[in-house]
Every structure is written in structure tokens, then in C-alpha cells.
Symmetry: C2
Subunit: 371 residues, 2 copies
């Protein structure tokens, strides 16, 4: 009873946190899939059909079931393709070896194992292949080796291969069914939301920058860290974005996303956001410098700077929200000229401050790119 209470408390705790909740749901989905494929072993009528090959179904579920639906589909299809290709080539090589017979048999098998091992491993390391088919190439190599090597011993290679493929298919079917239909976790949603929220993060950072700069000196020690860490997380989001986009490519049509949603554009926007966040970060470093002008001098440039900062932040927020809801920006034609006129206005006061130049250049760069 006491241990149950702790577990229930733990679970309640997790439910409150959305991210943890998703992880818990994912774990339960994996548990359910495992129980389902275990029935292949546990129930006699099923076991009589598939025999010990039921093992491959369990293996498939454990290995293929990933957090994001797209990742599961990718791994499953890779596994399927790799098994079919490796199995058929392996059968061919085994048949060839059997025709030769005698010691030549083993020699041919060794040579083919070596050649395919080298070729598949090299193939796996080509960057464009690695990104999409790494796992498939590994499974190809694995299946090829198992089939060609056991072809010498087992008589019924073909039948064995067919049965294994069947059970792998069963495992994959369970994975896809549970992963895509029961509380699916889409990489596409994740990528979409993260790009949109990155816009908001940067907007908040710009506002924070302005606030900090024009605040009176004595209050200056507060609230610097959170917006900086936001910027840094945007800066370091590249690899995460790329893997999400990679998974999203494998996800079927669902929700608001079509089958050929332009995921590579998300990556481009992500790159621009990273550049902007780099600019904001170094702007912050500048503001920290002891050589900044006194606060009275700052007040003199306050008005135009704040106007630019606010409109930049507004633009970013607007863009982020529109991306989130997948609408066209309504005042799209207005934003770019507005920012341009702001920038002209600024150049009149620019000699007295280091700050706006930077913001401006990048703001313009991003604005002129997106439209």
C-alpha cells in the first residue's frame, strides 16, 4: 500500500507537467505494445503459427518504437526495407555458395561477408544517407550476414526468412497502430511550436534589452539571466530542429499539416532566428560593458530606440503567432516599409549610440527575407 501511494503521487506529479505527461503516455504505449506482441508467445493458437520467430516481433517493437511518430515510422520502414533487401541478397549469396560446395562454400561466404560489410558500412557514413537510411543500412548488413552465414547450416533458409519477415511486419504493425492512432506525439507539431515560440523568445529578449538599457542604474542587477538563456537555447537549437524536420518528413498527413509540408523552410527560418539570437546576445554583451554612456545620455536617445525595439518585438511576435496559426500575416505589406522608415529615423541619432545599428541591421535582414 505504501509503495502504491508513492507511485500514485509520482504519477500525479507528472501529470501536472505537460512534458512529463507526454513521456508517461509514451511509456505506457510502449508497455501496451509489448504486451500485445507477447501474446504471440503466450497464447497457444498464435504460438503454433509463428513459433520461436515471435521473438522478432518483440525485438521489432523494442527497437522501433520511438518517442515521435515520425521516428517510429522511419525506423520501421528502414527495418522492413533493410530486412527484405538483406534477406534476398543473402539468399542469393547462400545459394551461390551452396552450388560451389565443399570448402569453396565457406570461402565464398567469407568474401561476400567482407565485401558487403565494407560497402554497407561505407555507405552508412555518407552524410545524406546517414540522415535517412542509417538504420536501414545497419539492418541490411545484419540480415545479410545472418542469412548468408546460416544458409550453410539451415536447409530452409527461404522459409525462415519469410517467417521472420512476417513477424517483423506484425511487430511493426503494432508499433504503427499504437504510435499513430493512440495519443500520437507528432514531431511536426513539436517543430512547428518550437519555431513559433522561438520568435516569441527573441521578441521578449529584445524588450528585455531595451528595458535594461534605459532603466535607472541602481535597479540594473535583476532579471538578466532568463532572457539570455532563452537566446542561448535558440542559438543551440539547430541539431534538434534538424532531427525534428527529419522525423516530420516521415509523418503521414495529419491535423493541419499536408503530406508535402515544406519542412525545409522551417529549417531556413530557424537558421535566421539563430543569427538574430546571436546578434541579440552580442548586443547584450555590449550593454554590459562599463564603457556605455551615462544614463542621461541614454535618455536622449530613448524615444527612437524604444520605438524601433518595440516595433521589432511586435513584428517578431506577430510573425510567431501567424506561423503558429498558419495564417498569412495581415499587414504583411506594411511591416517591411515600416521597419525601413524606422531605420532611417534611427540613422539620424546613430552616431551617439552603438546599440540600434545592430538591432536594425538584423531586423531588416530578417524582415526583408521573410517577405
Amino acid at each position: 500500500p505504501k509503495i502504491f501511494n508513492t507511485i500514485i503521487c509520482f504519477i500525479k506529479d507528472k501529470i501536472r507537467n505537460k512534458q512529463d505527461m507526454r513521456k508517461l503516455i509514451h511509456s505506457i504505449k510502449v508497455g501496451v505494445s509489448l504486451v500485445l506482441v507477447s501474446f504471440l508467445y503466450l497464447l497457444n493458437p498464435l504460438y503454433e503459427r509463428v513459433g520461436d520467430n515471435a521473438m522478432w516481433a518483440i525485438m521489432t517493437v523494442v527497437v522501433v518504437f520511438e518517442f515521435f511518430a515520425g521516428a517510429t515510422v522511419r525506423k520501421g520502414l528502414n527495418r522492413g526495407m533493410g530486412t527484405i533487401l538483406g534477406g534476398s541478397l543473402g539468399c542469393l549469396a547462400a545459394a551461390l555458395a551452396q552450388k560451389v560446395g565443399g570448402i569453396g562454400d565457406s570461402i565464398i561466404v567469407s568474401i561476400s561477408v567482407f565485401i558487403f560489410g565494407v560497402a554497407a558500412t561505407y555507405f552508412r557514413m555518407i552524410p545524406s544517407i546517414k540522415k535517412k537510411y542509417d538504420y536501414g543500412a545497419m539492418i541490411f548488413l545484419l540480415t545479410f550476414n545472418l542469412v548468408v552465414v546460416s544458409g550453410i547450416r539451415a536447409e530452409k533458409v527461404l522459409e525462415l526468412a519469410r517467417e521472420r519477415l512476417l513477424t517483423i511486419g506484425m511487430g511493426f504493425a503494432v508499433c504503427v497502430f499504437i504510435s499513430l492512432l493512440v495519443f500520437p506525439t507528432w514531431a511536426s507539431d513539436e517543430l512547428h511550436d518550437s519555431i513559433a515560440s522561438n520568435f516569441l523568445h527573441l521578441a521578449t529578449s529584445i524588450e528585455g534589452c531595451l528595458d535594461e538599457y534605459f532603466k535607472a542604474v541602481e535597479e540594473k542587477e535583476n532579471q538578466p539571466t532568463s532572457s539570455i538563456s532563452n537566446c542561448k537555447s535558440v542559438l543551440n537549437s539547430k541539431s534538434q530542429d534538424e532531427s525534428l524536420a527529419n522525423f516530420a518528413n516521415w509523418e503521414p498527413w495529419h491535423g493541419k499539416f499536408g503530406l508535402y509540408h515544406p519542412w525545409d523552410k522551417y529549417l531556413k527560418i530557424g537558421d535566421l532566428l539563430r543569427e538574430l539570437s546571436a546578434a541579440i546576445l552580442s548586443l547584450k554583451d555590449c550593454l554590459r560593458s562599463p564603457k556605455q554612456p551615462s544614463s542621461t545620455m541614454r535618455q536622449s536617445i530613448r524615444q527612437p530606440c524604444e520605438a524601433v525595439g518595440v516595433s521589432l518585438a511586435w513584428t517578431l511576435k506577430e510573425l510567431g503567432e501567424n506561423i503558429k496559426e498558419m495564417k498569412r500575416v495581415q499587414q504583411a505589406d506594411m511591416i517591411a516599409p515600416k521597419l525601413k522608415s524606422m531605420s532611417l529615423e534611427l540613422s539620424s541619432v546613430i552616431s551617439s549610440s552603438k546599440l540600434e545599428q545592430l538591432e536594425n541591421v538584423d531586423g531588416l535582414a530578417i524582415a526583408s527575407f521573410i517577405f
Copy 2:
């Protein structure tokens, strides 16, 4: 003959390129290991000992052999630990289920499959675990399921588990032997060299920046892209550095690196370099702005700026080279005060230029950190 010629040409081509050469060597190493474990099947005396379990040795080699030695060791140890833990817990659960007998048997097995499935999957997703033991947790789950489920059918679970473990050990031994002793590819070397060369890249970028800024206007269109792409590659190196450091932690004592080499310090230096590269990038954006002062005004600040830039670049190069050769910087005590005096000198001309402030602040930050 013709196809051989093409292959030989291809290989010759690759040998010239060092990176490709390493990939080729890695592929050949995998091929050799695969042939070695295939002998378990191919040679009769060996096969009589291990039987069909030789399959697990092949599987281990295909799955565990990675490009970097550290990655291979990590995967192999994870696989070993996961198998042992999963196997022993699976045996316990299977024995428990057998004692109950009847239908209760299957029910207990299903429940344990579900509970361990949920727990292990959740455990895998905890970030600190995921980084080091992701693969081990997966293998644990896999082995546990296979053992507990087949415990119902097979009588000799213990013996089966022992034999599988033995063959997995053989596969791992072959991997480690070939990976660590024959032309090893160390993640530690890779990380060490990449950090050192990042210093040089940034130094070159700073020099490029200065050149570009003080050049006459008409020549301005050349050579901007390569140093920018260098900066960007430094900026996006975080995830690569992290995985290299992760692998390097698993690598045994070798060459110039001890067993407890402080890899996390490399990551910190990498973080600082990324910040510096962000600063350089946005500095470049500023220099591109049409609002920069005329070239005569630039010439007036040329002397101090170039002095700072050159000494910054020199410092970075010096640091990079010293890291590469693992020496203490000789004039270590000199560098920080030198940079400081430079920065003071600069502040006298600072009101007329936007550029040095930025460089300076970061240069100081980095310099004061490293010493």
C-alpha cells in the same frame, strides 16, 4: 577488369582525402570483424561449441561497431550490462511465473512485461540517462522480454542465457580488439583538434574582418563567404562537441590523454568560442551596413583598431596552438594585461567607431576566463 579499375580508382581517390581515408579504414575494420565472427558459424569445431547462438555474436558486431573507439566501447558495455541485468531479472520473473503455473503464469508474465516496459522506457527518456545509458536500457528491455516470455516455452532458460551472453561477449571482444588496436579512431583526438582549429578559424575571421573594413571601397566584394561559413560552423558545433566529449569519456588511456582527462572543460571552452563567433558574426553584419562611416574616417581609427585586432587574433592562435600541443601558454601572464591596456587605449577613440567595443568585450571575457 573494368569494374575493378573503377573500384581501384575510387579507392585511390579516397586515399588522398584524409577524412575519406578514415571512413574507408573503418569500413574495412568492420568487414574484418564480421568475417572473424562468421568463423563461429563457418568452422565446424567452433560451431559445435556455440551452435545457433553464434548469431548473437554477428548481431553484436553489426550493432556495436561504431566509427569512434569510445562509441564502440560505450555501446558494447551498455549492451553487456543491459543483457546481464535484463537476463537475470527475466529469469527471476520467469521462475516466479512457473511457480504459480496455469493461467496465472501468463498473467504474471504479461503484467511484468507491461511494468518493466513502462519503467524502462520512461527511464530511457530522462536526459542524463539518455546521454549515457540509452542503448543499455533498450537492450535491458529487449533481453528481459525475450527471457521472460520464452521462459514459458523453453526449459533451459538459464543455459540459453549463459550461451547468448558468451557469444555476445565474443562479438564485443572482437569489436574492441579491432576498434582499439588496429588504426583506432579516437573521439578524443577529434574533439581536441576541432577545439584547437576552432581557435584558428576565429582568429582568421577577425583578421578577415579588419582587412575588409579598412580596405578601399572598390575591392570590397571578395572573400567574405569562407570566413563567415567558418564562424557559422563554429556556432553550430555544440551538439557535435557534446557527442564527441561523451564518447571521449569512454575511451581508455591512450596517447597524450590520461584516463581522467577533463573533457567537460573542452565543452566550456567550446561554449565560449561559440559566443565569440556569435559576436564576430554580428560584427560582420554591422560592417556590411550602408551606414558605416566613410573610408577616410575609417583610416583615422585604423591604427589602434588593427593593433587590437591583430593582438586578439594572435592570442587566439597562440591559445589554439598551445591547446593543440597541450603546453602551458608561455606568456600567459602577459596576455591578459596586454589586452586590458589595448582596451583602455581603444576607449579613447571609441566614440567614433562601433566596432572595437564589441571585439574587446568578448576578447576580455575569453581571455580572463582561460587564465
